[in-house]
Symmetry: C2
Subunit: 237 residues, 2 copies
């Protein structure tokens, strides 16, 4: 009943103010109520691990509030970040739907509210509610697309500056039309390196180069694009 991580836990999806227009939140009333019945709401602190790659799928997590880092790790301990999930997204759906082990690890990057649904309940829910199933398919399609985009970034670009430029453009893609787009992000150089598949030092060096050339500046957690066209030239557009 209290607020353990600095915010109030919202228990009822139907009257939830966090609802985004994405995915299950935008379901018709009947399906939403059915979803509300089978879900467990919970709040997590930053750094909580929701599931680990290799575990057999317990079910899905619907992200209501906060950011969650999705990653995969090699045998030698090297980590690759696949995505930073935003509110409205569903985590662990691939494994849950196909019944194979989670192939990625999900860790909260900040205090989060999540709805958990057990696998059996979720599958039943999808079977009963065709519109929800279609939404699920759409969500999976989106995931595939973002995966394909990352494959392109990793496989088709030769240089680290190119990949970093692509990432910066991706981050600022939504804040268009501004002269100098700014984005807030709370990622260390290390984490950026893990997204574009390079080393921490290289990220530092490339960012220093971007700063020197007045292309982009990352100060604190604020990223400012000074010269978008240079970045676009780097990605080969």
């Amino acid at each position: 009943m209290g607020s353990p991580y600095g915010f109030e836990l919202i228990e009822n999806c139907v009257i939830c103010k966090l609802r985004s227009d994405s995915f299950f939140c935008s379901l018709p009333k009947a399906a939403l109520e059915a979803f509300d019945k089978i879900k467990y709401s919970a709040a997590y602190p930053a750094g909580a691990v929701l599931f680990v790659e290799g575990q057999s799928p317990r079910g899905i997590y619907m992200l209501c509030k906060g950011r969650v880092k999705l990653s995969t790790t090699s045998a030698e301990g090297k980590t690759l970040i696949l995505k930073i999930s935003q509110p409205g997204e569903v985590l662990g759906m691939h494994a849950t739907v196909s019944g194979t082990p989670y192939e990625i690890t999900a860790e909260t990057g900040q205090p989060c509210q999540l709805n958990f649904v057990k696998r059996d309940d979720f599958l039943n829910f999808l079977q009963k509610h065709g519109d929800a199933c279609l939404k699920a398919a759409q969500h999976l399609s989106k995931d595939c697309q973002s995966a394909y985009q990352q494959i392109r970034s990793l496989g088709l670009s030769h240089s680290a500056p190119e990949r970093l430029a692509r990432l910066l453009l991706e981050w600022t893609a939504t804040s268009h039309d501004q002269q100098e787009p700014k984005v807030k992000l709370a990622l260390t150089h290390e984490e950026i390196a893990q997204i574009i598949g390079t080393s921490r030092e290289t990220v530092t060096r490339v960012l220093a180069d971007f700063r020197k050339r007045q292309v982009a500046v990352l100060k604190g957690s604020t990223l400012t694009i000074r010269n978008k066209s240079v970045l676009e030239k780097l990605v080969g557009a």
Copy 2:
């Protein structure tokens, strides 16, 4: 009515002998008959392009017979192969379901039989048949997984030998328990390079090295694994 590409075109899914246990083929009778009504069967020669990245989605292609190469190309003309699709798989579903442009290119690698379904018809079909929709979701999950696997391969391995070893093991994963697993594959060194994101020369060199060390031999289109454990050690397992 004839056999333009060396095989007979099969028009009826319900009595089709090619039916695999995967995806739509294994649907209950009602759904299968509905699918049969909305699909168009057609045969294609080798090298036919089904769709190109960037096109808006016309619909899905269900692969009955043959192999199809899925790839994506950078602005500079460099190509990355995402997958070689096998019979039973559905192509272009992400784009069709989510309504966004095809993000990959599909090209037949040999004479193929395919069933095409228009986007609207397909979406209707999914809405009417919940079990088909669930199958679709499962298929999309599989695609995501294979995409994540490729991301791992591209992002988490340092060396080309490691990636090639991973690929060889993947190819021979199904033919287990044999002392010297053999696989038939019709890929040039160039294409292998495009799968693991390296250059043609590197593939040639690494294969030569594998041959010299009696690890794996690629002769003609037959791949033979001589020493699996060395490959496994290379991928860090």
